[in-house]
Symmetry: D2
Subunit: 485 residues, 4 copies
């Protein structure tokens, strides 16, 4: 199964997409469509749980794409009911290639008052401690997923209803989470108090849907109603949507990288088109870091909107100087006669006739390890470009994310060990510029840039300022930013 993005081994990766629906016939078909629209948030595996009065809960969890697993009549026939939730996932850094099917969500638990299934996007930062405590009391974990803590906490709650038990459980949980859950009759959505990960509400016919992004509402023809608020829990039944705020209120800290890369360009975040925000990043970048050149080329596909913005602001023509092979694959056998940069050639090809003799501005969304940037630069030069200027649509990624994003260890991040200038030298390009943190904030609508006293977003991957202490990681020896840094 080929990756969706040609270089996703050199990208930060969102780890999950979640979706739920209630009050529609054939809920599973809606969930499958919703997950298909969210596939970019997790391509390794997916699962759907539904419920109908006669047969109870039904569950199918599989490795691979939604389009391959949840489209045949036989499978979908195993998922009857008018309520359902689903989940798509990546494996996390620690478990690469070892994910078992038992790690694939939604997780299901049978409680004394009935069953519940949950799908979780985010990361529990005190999962290790919770797990130890639960095992001590006799809980048996079936997965290596931190999300399973939630269902065990619910099983042991003294509360009488499932929503109450979920509140009880989530109050013990630290970190970033958006959760979609279901009982026999209720669809439940929750966002953590900081609202780090997204969650939106939609209306579909007489029913309701919850999704990580609005593009998943679009695919099922649902109307976008509103975002679930940070710290809000909604309980949806056939009587409608009931809202609660069980957590202590905090200033929200939505993940700014959702604007930069994770979310689909056709989704709406915080009332803004993601595509438009990214184009605006290009505009800001052209203002902050202009350069004289002949062409502005995106690194496909994620650099495209910012490249368009950069071109429009700078007046330098936009061109597709790099073509992406639509039939990607990573596993071709290298011929004995060695091919330079073979890995990258399987995915991209430079438009030689276009590039030759030109001064080229390459716009990419981010630099993580820097390995890909280097190869692309070489391809461009091999094709005869006169100059190569990199413009990056995000600030230097210098810190790992612990809130549901797959990042390399800190020492693997290029920006953790080099200054912008050292990076330029390392990549051997004519110029390299990242957008400033203020420029990024402006592009996503904060006219005055970042409020350093109380930042409007979670930007820990750029700033090292973690809004929730990553307790498990600190226990394992992770060094937080010191005053000196």
């Amino acid at each position: 199964m080929p990756p969706a993005h040609p270089f996703d081994d050199d990208k930060l990766k969102e780890e999950c997409g979640i979706f739920g629906v209630i009050g529609v016939a054939d809920a599973a078909n809606f969930v499958a469509l919703g997950l298909h629209a969210l596939q970019h948030r997790g391509q390794e595996a997916g699962g759907i749980v539904t419920h109908e009065p006669e047969g109870g809960f039904h569950s199918v969890r599989r490795f691979g794409y939604v389009r391959d697993n949840f489209t045949d009549p036989e499978t979908m026939g195993m998922l009857p009911g008018s309520i359902g939730i689903g989940h798509v996932r990546y494996s996390t850094a620690g478990n690469k290639g070892q994910t078992a099917i038992r790690d694939v969500q939604p997780f299901f638990g049978e409680f004394a008052m009935g069953g519940a299934a949950i799908a979780h996007n985010g990361n529990i930062t005190n999962a290790n401690a919770l797990r130890r405590e639960l095992i001590e009391r006799g809980s048996i974990f079936q997965s290596s997923s931190d999300s399973e803590c939630i269902i065990h906490l619910m099983a042991r709650s003294l509360q009488k209803s499932i929503p109450d038990r979920m509140e009880d459980a989530l109050r013990r949980v630290e970190g970033a989470f958006s959760v979609v859950a279901m009982t026999r009759t209720k669809l439940i959505g929750v966002r953590d108090p900081l609202g780090v990960r997204p969650l939106v509400l939609g209306r579909v016919g007489e029913g309701w849907a919850l999704a990580s992004e609005t593009c998943a509402l679009d695919i099922i023809g649902a109307e976008f109603v509103r975002e679930i608020e940070p710290g809000e829990m909604v309980v949806i039944t056939d009587k409608g949507v009931e809202s609660q705020h069980p957590f202590r209120p905090k200033r929200s800290r939505f993940c700014i990288f959702e604007h930069v890369y994770f979310s689909r360009p056709d989704s709406i975040l915080g009332g803004r088109s993601v595509y438009e925000s990214r184009r605006q990043i290009g505009v800001e970048l052209a203002r902050e870091a202009p350069v004289d050149a002949d062409l502005v080329c995106p690194v496909p596909d994620s650099g495209t909107p910012a490249a368009i913005g950069y071109s429009q602001e700078s007046g330098i023509p936009y061109a597709m100087g790099i073509t992406r092979n639509q039939y990607m694959g990573r596993t071709f056998i290298e011929p004995t006669e060695q091919i330079r940069n073979m890995g990258v050639r399987l995915k991209l090809n430079v438009n030689r006739a276009l590039i030759k003799g030109k001064r080229v501005i390459l716009v990419d969304d981010s630099v993580v390890r820097g390995t890909t940037s280097r190869k692309i630069k070489e391809m461009i030069l091999d094709a005869g470009a006169k100059e190569v200027h990199f413009r990056i649509a995000s600030p230097p990624t210098a810190w790992p994310c612990f809130y549901g994003v797959d990042t390399p260890q800190r020492e693997k991040l290029l920006a953790a060990t080099m200054s912008e200038d050292e990076m330029r030298e390392h990549l051997q390009v004519d110029s390299l510029r990242f957008i400033s943190l203020d420029g990024l904030y402006r592009a996503v609508g904060e006219a005055n840039g970042r409020d350093n006293a109380s930042p409007q977003y979670c930007d820990a991957c750029f700033s090292g300022e973690y809004p929730v202490e990553p307790a498990d990681m600190v226990e394992q020896g992770f060094q937080m930013k010191t005053a000196a840094e």
Copy 2:
């Protein structure tokens, strides 16, 4: 297996890509890479044949993508040798879904003087008559492919060498063909006298490669040497390239649709970047058919270069108003609660926040049946666009192709039964304009447009002027263009 283009059931489709290499270690690995780069020319099946002195000829033919079939060490270990050829194919219109593995090329024949394998791109227009004649004489056909005639003609030739037998065979063949063939020691390339289908020569290390397009040379790090000329046969051995011209010379008639859609934008055709030709089509279109609007949006992905050209020429901002789902699939089960235009939603989503209230110019490469154009227009209007203007980067497709392209029967072509104005009404858009045939010729470099007395290209799909009589089709009742038309 999802289609590469979201609407390839509403596109003309190139039927084959061919590739060959000689004089390199592990030829099969090169062939696999070359075919991977040519996958857009045929996604249904592929095959590779190699030869090495000890084990003789080796052959693997499979349904599916190159990346899935020719990447594991076990398969590639079955294909040793320093010479090899390969083929990727679509099924032709008549046999949709019935292709047997025995129809998958390269075809192989054992002759008295040794074996030969051939891979054919194009279509033999007198195949039926040839087949009848060969069966009458006792040949046994193993496939339903017209290409098999070539190998039987070779088997029965009185010539002494395989290249001579191939010449002998190809002189009996009418139609359009580019052929790559191999014996134990020779790599052979031929183009028909009109040069309808492409074929290029490259240098890789000490060896040589033949390919349908230059992008397949790029992926293996080969240097592009030149195009094989119309009517030329090259015989490549370890002594070098020997060129012959066995056919009676004619004015060449290269397929103009290769510029419009078939070839990859990063290939070079006739010395020109395909991307640049397509951008230029957009420029011409903006001149021929301007309209006042807010945004120029491509229908992804094939409309992109023309949309960029249209935007640059018109000054109207370019924007990605339609997002393509990278994880396409056609088979999701429709939920009972019907979703409007579900098929198209699986593949595309409109960027609602961007489109709302705007006058939008949509640039597409062609209109074949028109079914897709209609659905896209509806999605754009659903999203709140104020006006929708279609601009098409090719003239109306009014005639089927019989030279190796999969086209619907004539009566299914929208332009065969409607005028441009009727089409506009049929599609219910605010305006619809196709580039003119002259405009298209100008965009691909003919400054004076089409030479109607002796056209520079094969443009039968637009003009109905077939450079080679499609004998088999006429026999089956196809009506050629009358003087009146």
Copy 3:
């Protein structure tokens, strides 16, 4: 996947085979071989768990045959370690075709003092009540298997060591069970106080093995040491075998049907060759129910030993009048021109030249629903037999088993609703005789037959006398035998 026995839909079916080994290199390979030898006890799915110090516990569970799932180097490489256990299973009556992979054993639990895996053969008769209680306390069940109760009871035990927790757990469990379990360093075997299901101990090199039957010791070249005693728990470490008797002692009641059908003929049960016991059943049957005839034919393959005994005692020649097709399958499409008894013809064929005009005694192991017996009788008559006499190597099966055997509901058992004579009439054979319960006891070595006051075996399927009350079934409405019956 074809069934092993041609008519296993008309047979009682053992539900599980278990195996464990400690103190050998590559334990998983031994477990795979042992399970292969036990495949007749469960063909639906199988699993293996191993442990080694570096990587901890490893587990692979799959649907299908051991020979297909646990033979490739890749899978076996996922199961390193010198200690391992395994399980093969049938689906139980209630869940036919719905078994999920999560129902496939061994089950694994992580406790505060480390992990343990268990494999269970038998049935817990108070599983429903236990499950309710455990859920009430916050345990989350992952399977529909009653065996999972054991692992949750262990998780909640207050004992400090895993063997102590297992004792604690098994004292809460009612029913029939043989269990093989493992920790990081210990292999544990337990049989319930009545010893209903088998479990044997073997010595393999410097290590030890536990298996359901001795044939699984033979395949790995292990020496048969002894049976685990009813009510015994053995804990095996690198220091040797330690035996405990944690349960209150009872008179043992081994399943007599293991002698009749479940166990393999080359296994040893209670010191006797199973083959020899079955041959002796034939001898007893010839004495109890003689008849004048020309041939004694087994219903292949399970009727063979008794048919040999019947022939030897009666002097009537033994012959293979029915041939079994070794390539069975049930799913051929019936041709329009209907074939009489097509289902049975796929599996068996009568040796027409042998049978024609003969008086034939057919020896079968049991009659469950009677559907197969009827079809076989018809085939024999179609082939021209003059008379057909059925001799059955077990008493009438009139009661379901609740101790780990898959039996139809009582009303589906032919003998539950008909007398021997009614059955003869129903099957339309010239004579039909079952061995008596006393005859069966004599054949398995009880010279004085059954001790009705205190039976030596569990023979509930014949007698309706259940040694352990099937509590869950009674709760669901099952009617125990009344004094009148």
Copy 4:
């Protein structure tokens, strides 16, 4: 895919089974059933061809068992029509593991007067010469199978009808062959003049069937009419069966090994039950080679009928001392701690409790390489047998077969290099005796034994007297028996 016989790598192997039917609805379903009954004659691959007026010829050819390939509605729906033929095959010695799907029969050829398909059981002894000649003339071979010569000879025949062309072709062919062929309206069956391989005719409803063995008639409920005679060609249409004798008459030489091992015991050959012939071999063997012992045990499964006969004639009790594992497999990974005779243990287990301390007569059908016999002897001794006596139900196999049977090269045959006494010593058994050639002839009904002047059967594998010169093999250096031998 496990082998059907536990030691078929140490057995002679029939290479093909053929079947045809005409005049029935859903012919393919009948063919599938017939091939299923003939699966023992070829387990590697199978194919079915049918014809119906509308769609013409239909063909499906696959690797694997009939039960796995020709049972699903989708496949069978691809094979409509009321006439059909089929083939099951082994790979021949030379091509082990290299069989391509193009080598799988039936073969199909399109001739000027229409198509024909053929299925061939046997071997063409002058195939190499024919192939060379045909290629010289321009035929293109698609397979490595000698059977393909027939279809090319037919394509080049000057005759006007397909049956006439087949006659023409078969007159050029030397060797042993039974052929089933079909045109659009005719089912054709032919046996070579010596009648080496079997072919029988049956009546099914209003239609007719041709099959290698009568067991394939039984499974479809067809009535056995008669054997096709040596040198006979039958052409069956809706008007009935027409018989011709196109070849010069010769004394027939049916393969005697069909009686010994190849045919199923429930088939009828030459008017005799195969089972009964094999039992009679055991009777003859008991007379020729008596020995004092406690038990007669068959080597399962093929030694069973002869063991029964031996026991009945000698009065020594018959017993199943060796149990066959029904779930065979050869590929288990050997544990580091080596298991003695692991290969054989996967397939067989000795009934230790039965064998211990006994003098055992083992009856096997043949000794080819002798490797298996040796392992079985070791297992029996390991289990504690006091004496082991081998009795073989065929004479020493000292010569390879070139008439459609897979045999090792001569030097690999134990009997080619050792006397009976040397073999006994080699196998280290207490005694070893083969049935005499005369005894074998008597058992199959020749009361006076073998007519050495003009043998009634082909027994070349025992006698080295080849009824047709194996021309291709002699060309490759095979040494025929000299006068001295």
